[in-house]
Symmetry: C2
Subunit: 451 residues, 2 copies
Amino acid sequence: MAAIMQTTTRNTDWLLRPRWIIPGIPVGTVLQDHALQISDGRIHAVVPATTAAPHDHTLELPGHVLLPGLVNAHTHAAMALFRGLADDLPLQRWLKAHIWPLEQRCVAPDFVQAGTRLAIAEMLRGGTTCFNDMYFFPQDTAAVARAAGIRAVIGAPILEFQTPWAEDAADCLTQAEALLQEYQDSPRLSITLCPHAPYSVADASFRRIHALATTHGLRVHTHLHETATEVADSLRQYGMRPLQRLHRLGLVNERLIAVHATQLEPAEIRQLADSGAGVVHCPESNLKLASGLCPVQALLNAAVPVALGTDSAASNNNLDLLAELHTAALLGKLSPPDCTALAAADALHTATLGGAKVLGLADRIGSLEPGKCADLIAIDLRHPHTQPVYNPISQLVYAATANQVSHVWVDGRLLLREGHLQSLDVDAVLATAADWGQRITTACSAMPSSD
Amino acid sequence: MAAIMQTTTRNTDWLLRPRWIIPGIPVGTVLQDHALQISDGRIHAVVPATTAAPHDHTLELPGHVLLPGLVNAHTHAAMALFRGLADDLPLQRWLKAHIWPLEQRCVAPDFVQAGTRLAIAEMLRGGTTCFNDMYFFPQDTAAVARAAGIRAVIGAPILEFQTPWAEDAADCLTQAEALLQEYQDSPRLSITLCPHAPYSVADASFRRIHALATTHGLRVHTHLHETATEVADSLRQYGMRPLQRLHRLGLVNERLIAVHATQLEPAEIRQLADSGAGVVHCPESNLKLASGLCPVQALLNAAVPVALGTDSAASNNNLDLLAELHTAALLGKLSPPDCTALAAADALHTATLGGAKVLGLADRIGSLEPGKCADLIAIDLRHPHTQPVYNPISQLVYAATANQVSHVWVDGRLLLREGHLQSLDVDAVLATAADWGQRITTACSAMPSSD
């Protein structure tokens, strides 16, 4: 059984008539009695419903809110196959006794394809139309994303040490260049360079990354200031904090995608703002691994672009951006205690246009504006837990769940219809995932126990 | 259209054959290849599947986990009608400019019935089989809960000042006694006394509450140490912290249900442990209102019984105990930072047997043991976001969502079948909630703006 279905995702023009439209710009706007027209894969117009011309493909969405597709700005998609394998462990034991040995045993192109397909099924089902990935065998991630029709930013991971994918950092960069050649003209895929983290990449490699990124105008996607330990280790090894080190290497600029950023001094927030770099907030992963809190409201106050990400299903344990949005909005009020921080509309912005901006895609996606790609979703609020509706933005951020996403379009192609995936065969995806679950369980039992 | 359907909730004996059973005791146990037999509304046996006798009503649950029904240990159910009405506001402005004036205008028996029905629809749909409520017109909450078939602990709220329900604290106590008379022999309902909070109830009333609770063996359910302001105000007004004040009034004992408890000194944790009092953790409400963090792991270490609650949909904004469990398990690792704190199985315990214990119902519900009431739920893990399955407890706590709850039994009666409510007409519930949404919107627009 083929896991990818090719038949039902052709591009169609649509007239959508939802109960509410949240265009995303200006932040906090809610339109009622409006219609949205999709033409040639792009948003053609958002107009008062009474002025919309009759249309062959009209979709009535009487209890739904229409909004930009969600942008998951930090994933390791294929790791969905490790979901729930090892929870509630200290970070270093989790990595060294579980994740890294398993990756050595299991990760290969077929693993990455199966895991990415599982991840995309979950993401499309939950309203994510674009994800920003970092994982081994990125060419396989790219192929699966292209076939499924989702938008993706595919990162070539770069580490000094040997991995199942590459010998060393030089090999990573060679493969990154090949990936770039292959996908440079792809309509829905773009490529980034992903130095794994300051502690796993040497200065010489960062310099090569900087040169390659500058030549091709690529974004650089990296874990940065994830934990206090990372910062302390860098101070010991390099005599400076990781952000300062990247700054000296020329990497702190408008193309930097800095993930986590739980350890930031006020001067570093200003430095990020001045550089134009973006930050990806991953609240659930930061909580689960006890990494710390990203100062989201302070970053927004300083006009640093902030995106939202789930991180991998091995440290979350889902790729549910609506749930992440809920957590982000709640957690954003904790420190310093302030009920008014990260208000619902601002939180939603991080999951849509904020994400697009951090990924360098704000000219194409992130808001419902004429001329942008038709990446958008409908969410049906006619469920007990999202009624009554005083403000649909509040319902989305504080109450709605992924299963309420009814329709998903990417580039105008309908990829989720009434909750059913159109470009992936979910039964085949689940069967393959279950097979991998068995293989991984067997691999685990063959590993020397270090718990 | 009647919102309550009486026809399909008759008690039936069942043989359930799920993929996994989580009996809840010992904590962390997962059974495979077992079956559970329900007889006369009670759990008759949990046996290896091969030894289960053939049964007329056998239900195969091939991808499901069967577990005790979830216990939502702190609600104001009827406030579901205020869901999302006023978010991201400072607590005192939220209460004084929005919630309290609206309650004066809107809260009446029909409001409480409609709101409670909406709340119960959401709770049953999400696997909650028992809730512990505190709101005005508790006799109406009780009537709706009884008709819907859910288990409930109904609290009579006690405040010094006039409310839509009562003139003063004495009137509240008179009505509480009447409620007690009416429901003392009810199979699924029990009654508590609910002094609203130390700051809204005087010593004389607490003494009367203590006397009545002692006479009838009632639990006392109250907000306690919700915010630092509450503690500071008490120090100013009474020269002692609220817990100390309740202790002097005789109320800190094994019948106390202390909700929130975000401000606890080590000596107070020991005092709670010595007294046998229970704590209800409401993480999402505490985050949304920026109240603080309940020290859950420290309470568990001290053997204080801990339950989990959503609080009201006006400060959450849902009554989704699985989502609350996810938040609790993640947030439990934050302070002090510890990835191993509030591990998945311990978190699940707070939502099941921990809740039952705090409510005084552990002899009847909270675990799947022969002789206990058949309050149990099935959750279907065959979705992309909960696959593969290495440990179903991890999937429940860190990945599963309310819509995966497929079946719910209370006292052996099937109240949710394949995701469909059996004792409530959800369309009627939603229509009534929408009507109330309009009425409340109108009431808001007639209120003097104090924002």
